[in-house]
Amino acid sequence: MDWLEFFRGPMFQIALLVFILGMVYRFLRIVLMGWKKDYSPPRGSAAAGVVKTYVKGLGFLPFLPPKFPGTRHRPLTYIAGGMFHLGLFVVIFLSTPHMEAWRSVLGFGWPTLPTPFIDGFAAMSMIGMIILLSNRIVSPVGRMLTGLGEWLNWIVVFLPLLSGWVLYHHLFGMPYQTIFAIHMFTVDWLLIWIPFSRISHFMTYFITRTMHGAKFGRLGVEP
């Protein structure tokens, strides 16, 4: 079995299983630890708060809301973060090769976007990532908050984007098998690393955001 077969086959299998196990663990751990009931007298609806908070967070480009108070002084993190996340989601879910990969995991597929669009979003995502990394190095808050975990997370997410780009565009005259194997290797590592790291925030986001919306909706204030 050559490297490509290995990274697409047994290692992908293991990576996927580790991912599932890890994410189920992280999710259920929070749910099973429970939380306190809110005894404050309700002034509004928790459900309305939940809807509102998701519309604010996902209704515009993720993290590009003109209403958020933080953006006035330095919109950089918001905009670069939005570029990165939007690009990533489009590439992961709406590109044809990835949709085929999802189909082999889920059993069903969906319509996808033409390649030039995906190219644009992938480029946008990588540029966003580079901006965010520079921010972590240059800004005082960024420097203070960035540790080994953040570096690793960045690398583990950037490499699949980069190698996927090289792969799809047949860059550097590399044999397709080689760069395909590299891409699958980086993807395997991403899958394995996610449940062990803060990248899992894409799942926890839905818990905390819902809690936030419910609490503030119930309080009758803006979530």
């Binding site: 993190t77 062990f196 986001y205 905390t208 204030v221």
Partner: protein
Amino acid sequence: MDADRKLAQYYLQHADGWLVAQLDVCARCGICAEACPFYLGTGDATHTPIRKIEPLRRAVQENLTAFGWLRSLFEKGGSSAQEVSDWVSEAYFTCTVCNRCSLACPMGIDLGALIQLTREGLAAAGMTPHSLADAVRRQDATGSPLGVTRTLFENRLDWLRQEEGVDLPLDVPEVDSLVAFTSIELIKFPGNLAAMAKVMEAAGESWTLSSTGRESVNFATFSGDTEEQTEFVRRLTEAALELGVKRIILTECGHAYDTVRRIASRLYGLPLPFEVENILETIVRFLREGRIRLRPDAFAGQRITFHDACKLQRLGGLIEQPREILHLVAPETFVEMTPNREAQWCCGGGGGVLASPEADEIRMKAFLPKVEQLERISPDAVVTACSTCRLQFLDGSKYYDMDIDVRGITEVVAAALETETPKGA
């Protein structure tokens, strides 16, 4: 017992799925800092909100996560005295618990609640800063953090009755409303009480003050001492029950509204045996029932703006009430600051910061975003519904040499009352 152990004891007791999720989801993006007046006023990254909860984060990470536990095996020795002192400083002197960071957080992390929990742990470990701890002790002993005893209280009321010629009923049972104000107002802004009395009279409200339930301020909320916090609220609510009132009206205090409602619901369950109303809601109620009327020419020619107090507006939801009022008294000249409403910049004085002399310098820096806001619209007066904000604005406008009037909303309403007899009562 060392500091880390003491703190961990408190935090771990309260560790549940909510706490783990909040700490888990932080992506270290730093957007919370962009929303914090203390960071923006100083440019000092150590005031990043997510860092203010460092002792809490550390306790949970080291005891409840696999990686954290592994790391703790290597990083022995615990936290240094300097670190602990920094934690205290960050949690108490560079944060007003305004919750702006929580509003900005893309992950929906409830930073205000986390910082409050951090304070609670520090308080339980006996690390509350002296000035706050003293104030709590005074409130416990005398009923007021400023030391306003019952006697002093009653004397002051007498003086005010004479000085302003207002009726201040005390301990009258079976009335509709118990009005609870703050000893801050009693000492520093007595005009508030006179104004409030005038508005009550004009509306024909049946109301009283209470000698036992005379303090709505709760310094234990600032210090994080949960037992005392409950005790202070109980004094107020017991007075209300004893008097048999329908509602408690809280005057111009930021944190009282949330604190009283939340703790009362814990003491008495829902529905509460009485309503808890803020003076803003009271005034709007009077206006809508036609019990008072305001003159639209009361502040003719004066540019007035409104400062949203963090606890009343962002966390209390009383956003449109002050605007309803101010649009009536200054229909042509009311201007909004930018940003406003729930995104309004915190003044930098709340959450106990104003009460701590150690924070005097930094709270002036935290006032800088407000200076910028005001300079952009150049109002003649800024109106607020929170006495701490009012004090901070007075200090800040002097510090930055600003020519601006600082007003409480009750005084504004009283000054604009139409003098013909209104309907009702």
